[in-house]
Symmetry: C2
């Protein structure tokens, strides 16, 4: 990008740098642990301090604020719950912006709205010179632990290349999809597929059950065909057997993403009838089962027994 | 099954038997070719004779009627378009029933209604003593050619075991799902997933395109995550690039299956909102693009350009 500050990341490979991680929750903690295991110095902060403390034993430096992370690190990774949490951590009191410096990079692993991402990125660079890469992740906690996440990025090529060696310590797939916001847009397309697939698998499993076929045998019977997928193999037995601990993912998270799809779809004049219906089914589940219900409990909505 | 006739199939492995194949179309022809290549004697018949003739060069014996196939073969395989075609080939003039004998087996690879399957099977056994195994297939023409089909069966264990060695010359997966009709029910569950997945992938690809992301890169960006599948990798590039020759499958076939799902769902009190919406989208496609349109042209329905 012409006129942008030289990247601190560009001096990267020649000297030992300090990385930062803001938000060491369900996803952020195992991702940070992988950075530490790879030999990096990592400065961390989390709003709930207790969730960051176990990382200290693994070598992390725990500081008092997101601003402190930004003061010490050239590349700050961030993994938070939603758009509001990101805005607060970046622009709130003692936020990343307060400690940001020109040429530093913020890599946002959170799944938030593409439009908000573009506004935050513009503001952060204008106010501090810090560059933004949106890089939402897919693959869940197991993927974070194993370093097999798929990460879809939006931003400039130079920023993407500067952080790539570190991101690949946490991910198997890291793809630049376009300018700022394109990573978030791609993640929403991912969620269209994952959210609707959950609902469709629940529908198929219920039909099988009601029509006298053992739905737990569908993964075996359909293996290798066009209906086969990781979700078929993993989700259907959990749904049918009522196995929801630990949850595959909270219904709140799925619903937040599908509602973001709705906003993006309206703004881009894209008909999304399947996603709209999936969103309303997950909303029904959140009303009946609470925000922390396992998203796979969508199967229960079509059953005669209690939720 | 107590009281059923001893299976001719049971003398199978000790002596060379004659197999039959009725319906040597897009799927039946490569399936028959695999039986011939494995060294079996196969008697064939097809309503349109020209479609069966190339098999003669591969060693097939071409006869004048479905009844003639049944007269010569202990195990008759059949692969036809729909419920009406199956009824005609079995119970019509010079049909399979006219040449059927006690203890012989009819393996129906067609995808037809479970309820019709049960009625046909009952009638055929009552009138002739021939046993029925419903065994609809998944995997398309490429799977038929490569012998990698997934086949889901309904019937009794003894019939299933008697035909298994021959079916596995055409398929990688052969699973007995329950009594007569259970194979067809399982195939409909398969089609719930495949049909809805096509529509959902079209929705995701359109959203990406409209929101400024290159949809042909979705397979790469989402590889390995929960959104990944054979359909993602194969269907999305074809949709976005408008590659519909040869068609992946005709919209007529998909719509026939999804309408069968609708009937089964009503009969079993199963809510199938996603399948119902997919059926109406494929119906719209069939109205605009004709019955022979490629089912993947569903992507065009949400585009500004002409179908």
């Amino acid at each position: 990008m012409a006129g942008a500050a030289p990247l601190k990341g560009e001096k990267a490979m020649s000297e030992k740098r300090t990385l930062g991680f803001v938000g060491t929750g369900l996803m952020g903690a195992p991702m940070t642990a992988r950075l530490l295991a790879a030999g990096n110095r990592v400065v961390v902060w989390n709003r709930t301090r207790a969730k960051a403390e176990p990382l200290v034993a693994k070598g992390a430096v725990l500081v008092e604020s997101a601003a402190d992370v930004a003061r010490q690190a050239d590349i700050v990774f961030m993994c938070l719950t939603d758009t509001n949490a990101v805005e607060e951590a970046v622009f709130g009191a003692d936020g990343i912006a307060a400690g940001a410096s020109e040429g530093a990079i913020l890599v946002d692993f959170s799944s938030i709205q593409p439009e908000a991402t573009r506004a935050f990125a513009k503001r952060l660079e204008a106010e501090t010179g810090m560059r933004w890469l949106d890089a939402p992740v897919s693959g869940g906690v197991p993927g974070a632990e194993a370093g097999t996440l798929a990460i879809m990025a939006g931003g400039t090529q130079d920023v993407f290349e500067a952080v790539k060696p570190f991101v690949l310590q946490m991910a198997a797939q890291f793809t630049l999809m376009g300018p700022t916001g394109a990573g978030q847009t791609t993640k929403l397309c991912n969620q269209v597929i994952v959210g609707c697939t959950m609902a469709v698998l629940a529908e198929a499993a219920r039909l099988a059950t009601n029509a006298g076929v053992d739905a737990t045998r569908l993964p075996e019977a359909l293996a290798g065909g066009f209906a086969d997928s990781k979700p078929l193999q993993l989700f259907v037995p959990r749904m049918v057997n009522g196995q929801h601990e630990p949850p595959l993912g909270h219904v709140y998270t799925m619903l937040k993403d599908l509602d973001s799809v709705g906003e993006l779809a309206r703004a881009s004049a894209s008909p999304v009838p399947f996603t709209a219906m999936a969103a309303e089914q997950f909303r029904l589940l959140s009303v009946r089962g609470g925000n922390d219900a396992d998203a796979l409990e969508i199967f229960k909505l079509s059953g005669a027994s209690k939720l």
